[in-house]
């Protein structure tokens, strides 16, 4: 539904309002979700959750993420951090930051990508052979928020 007409560019704010409404109605099978933090009127700071996929080391765990959509979104990808501790090849093991150069959806970001596709693709990374059986930190532990992480305002 987003960007179906390539010639008409929906501006950032209206695009994010569309994404917000879609997220509030509920997404697909409920394995990922997202929402705006603290009624942020700049539409910049978001939270996301991913339910770990079955038959993986992530099964039955709920992962909380922080997402920052900058002023150039959706031309530029958002900045993404895991808050819940995780071992994943594209995630910095100290900060929880998702490394855009190691994450296919961020590396190949286009304005057709959405917060929903971002979370679905991150969940798919968990089923990738190089990640699927990685030993995971104790359940429920969190990354200590680095000073530059999008943790709020």
């Amino acid at each position: 539904m987003f960007g179906a007409d390539l010639d008409v560019k929906v501006p950032r704010n209206f695009r994010l309002l569309d994404e917000l409404e879609k997220g509030e109605r509920g997404l697909g099978d409920g394995c990922v979700s997202y929402g705006l933090m603290d009624d942020d009127t700049t539409l910049t700071y978001w939270t996301g959750t991913i339910l770990g996929p079955l038959n993986s080391a992530f099964e039955n765990r709920i992962y909380n993420l922080r997402i920052r959509c900058g002023s150039n979104y959706p031309e530029s990808p958002p900045v993404v951090y895991f808050r819940t501790r995780i071992h994943l090849h594209c995630v910095d093991s100290h900060t929880g930051a998702v490394d855009p150069s190691r994450c296919a959806v961020l590396r190949g970001w286009t304005r057709q990508c959405t917060l929903e596709t971002l979370l679905i693709e991150l969940r798919r990374e968990m089923t990738h052979p190089q990640n699927r059986r990685l030993q995971q930190p104790p359940e429920g532990s969190e990354f200590s928020a680095p000073s530059n992480a999008p943790s709020g305002r």
């Binding site: 179906a4 007409d5 390539l6 010639d7 008409v8 560019k9 929906v10 501006p11 704010n13 209206f14 309002l17 917000l20 705006l36 009624d39 009127t41 539409l43």
Partner: protein, 150 residues
């Protein structure tokens, strides 16, 4: 079909520049001719009087078959405007008609500022106060105007 800017949009934009509505300024973005910066003067006699309110307006691909999208960027305390600046107004939804224009939409929003409709709320807290204690509600709206719109 909608890649080139329709004559309709060009005509409206030209007329807004040539023959502006008092108290309303509409400026297209340089890099997107369907996206406008809007400045509305708070209507006289309302708690928003004296305030300068910034909005953004976007004409979607199938405008004028579909209504413009509008959002307040300046916070205001109003039963039909939520914390993200979204506006609840019938002509932006099911009562839209292609005969309406950017100009009529913005005049309707000014009218909504003068005449809130607390029975169809988007900000429930403001709507409740408007119904229970209208003097206090208007005082709140005035305080927000002073704090955010001046």
């Amino acid at each position: 079909m909608s890649g080139h800017l329709s004559n309709r949009i060009l005509r409206e934009t030209e007329r807004l520049a040539r023959d502006p509505v008092p108290g309303i300024s509409v400026t297209p973005h340089e890099d997107n001719a369907r996206y406008f910066n809007v400045i509305l003067a708070g209507p006289a006699g309302s708690p928003y009087e004296g305030g300068i309110f910034r909005l953004e307006l976007f004409l979607p691909a199938d405008y004028p078959m579909q209504a413009p999208r509008v959002r307040f960027l300046t916070p205001l305390y109003h039963p039909n405007i939520d914390r993200l600046g979204r506006v609840c107004l019938d002509i932006l939804k099911d009562r839209w008609s292609p005969a309406l224009q950017i100009r009529t939409v913005l005049l309707s929003i000014q009218a909504l500022m003068s005449e809130p409709n607390p029975d169809d709320p988007l900000n429930n807290e403001a709507a409740d106060l408007w119904k229970k204690d209208i003097a206090r509600a208007k005082q709140m709206a005035q305080e927000w105007t002073t704090r955010y719109a001046k």
